[in-house]
Symmetry: C2
Subunit: 327 residues, 2 copies
């Protein structure tokens, strides 16, 4: 079989120069039948391929270790990262590559099917180009989420294949999930399903470890939210979690009940990107992350709206918790 | 290098069973730097990869022969087809595969870099599930174009890679273009640029061969068009080329001047998919083909609006003609 070499885009990178060669038959013809590509509740049994996508501004070893403890078969997992083009990104890349190298050069059974690292084109695209203290103000948040949406699209369009059954969006600051995360979430067999992102912390008043809700982007629409939107200018957006903009939406973050079943579902209208599983066909039909106001929503919340416009239902798992890193 | 075999999705297909094996290193890590991925006016010189995408309901040998006469280097061209799941599609697939086989098993210099054939999931997705006579009524057109948008998205998401510089949308009924089509169109170095689709016919009155405009989806917005849109219900759409819905938009189809330069450009707000070149970054940033009304536009016209919302400009080449098959 003749040897095929991808155009080397990355000659200044630190590692793996010799890993870029693919052996592809030169008379390459690929056939894919979307009719035989499934995403089912028995994903692992049916050998369905899962693409885990993570926009990464900072490498947390806890994120990586959590990924490594997932029990879904690694030969069915591809992972894609997108990293901002700035100094912080250089450091992130170095740390990420070091850990990837350990796994992908380890014994065959330990390796993921494929790992793709994408570096952003411009520093101005960086989804973390904001100071930490600015990150949660409303105006700054709009710009940040628009850039995050751009990054998600670049990552998605570059990595999804005609053989991908599921896409798992997992943020780089998610550091703790059940081992059976992918099996658990695929089992619900929903077009879009989002886990509830909480955070562990030390409760100073009660002097003990505790948990608190973290991601407020998973919500069900309220009539007040719709009313608010109807009065807005074309380019205004609603972002959840700001006192300036009370929406009275039902937030999944506040719907957690410790005593109820973790497999309980609720219908949602907006989702976050913390830990959200999407059937690949939803993306393939056209659902992306709007960088511009789409029904007054952007990024993952706009994506949920787009999935619904494409005819898909969106769900959340209020009692299925995953954890954001302590800051 | 260990041997890697894609999961065979297509065991009932007619040909090429033995062509599906890819040799990929098992410790596969791919690095792509979007900063070094360019789309420039010197595309061929800079070895920029072009992805030609064609939704194909009927195989016309004239389309294929036209593709083969393009002078852009074939080692830089990937082609993707999506074919409906119906009887017509079976025939199309057979004819297409026969011709592809000739080229991709021919001598190395004749081969395209890669050809991907995608078969749609369901018969109901078929973008040609309508009788020929219905194809041009307004109501039917809406549904047809929504399905066409779906097909374009499925094809795009399945074939675009992190190494793709340009995407050329070429309809299956385009049978005549200049040999230098890709060089000519990339030379304009625009985010989106559309050729003017005409049709050859025999003028019975004048008893001679003649040409006439064919694709009316390339247009610049008018104040009346905007006014029309502002009065429409959320899910109504404007489709160009129907007497029921006069928009007074400036149509590129009517802007052709035989005596003017073929390299002349005009700014557009809507495009058709007949022969439209897109910088891959426009798609990668999120521009897809809305299957639902997006600013009262769908499919390629909605795509143009989305590209503009993402900050890209859209152009047409009024005097650069390509030809639709005679029906």
């Amino acid at each position: 079989m003749p040897k095929y070499i991808y155009k080397k885009k990355t000659k200044n990178w630190l590692f793996f120069q010799n890993k870029q060669e693919d052996l592809i038959p030169q008379s390459h013809i690929a056939h894919y039948d979307l009719n035989t590509l499934h995403s089912t509740e028995d994903a692992a049994l049916n050998k369905e391929q899962v693409l885990i996508l993570t926009p990464m501004q900072t490498f947390h070893i806890e994120y990586w270790n959590n990924l490594l403890q997932l029990s879904y078969p690694r030969e069915l997992i591809e992972i894609g990262f997108i990293i901002p083009r700035n100094k912080n990104g250089d450091e992130t890349l170095k740390n990420l590559e070091r850990e990837i190298k350990k796994i992908q050069t380890d014994k065959k059974e330990s390796r993921f099917k494929k790992i793709t690292i994408l570096r952003q084109e411009q520093e101005s695209d960086s989804f973390n180009a904001l100071g930490e203290k600015d990150r949660h103000s409303l105006e700054v948040q709009k710009e940040r989420r628009s850039k995050m949406a751009l990054s998600r699209n670049q990552l998605l369009f570059s990595t999804i294949g005609p053989y991908t059954s599921w896409v798992l969006w997992m943020d780089a600051d998610i550091v703790e999930t059940p081992t059976s995360l992918i099996q658990d979430m695929t089992f619900h067999n929903k077009p879009v399903v989002s886990a509830n992102v909480f955070q562990r912390y030390f409760n100073e008043d009660e002097k003990k470890d505790a948990i608190r809700p973290y991601d407020f982007n998973n919500w069900a629409e309220s009539s007040l939210g719709l009313q608010l939107a109807s009065k807005m200018g074309e380019d205004e957006i609603i972002v959840e979690g700001y006192a300036e903009l009370a929406t009275y939406r039902l937030l999944m973050a506040h719907s957690y009940k410790a005593t109820d079943s973790p497999s309980e579902t609720m219908e949602l209208d907006g989702v976050g990107g913390g830990c959200t599983l999407v059937k690949a066909e939803v993306h393939r039909d056209g659902a992306m992350f709007p960088t511009f106001p789409f029904y007054h929503l952007i990024e993952t919340e706009g994506f949920a709206k787009m999935a619904k416009r494409l005819g898909y239902a969106v769900y959340g798992l209020p009692n299925y918790l995953v954890y954001h890193i302590e800051e």
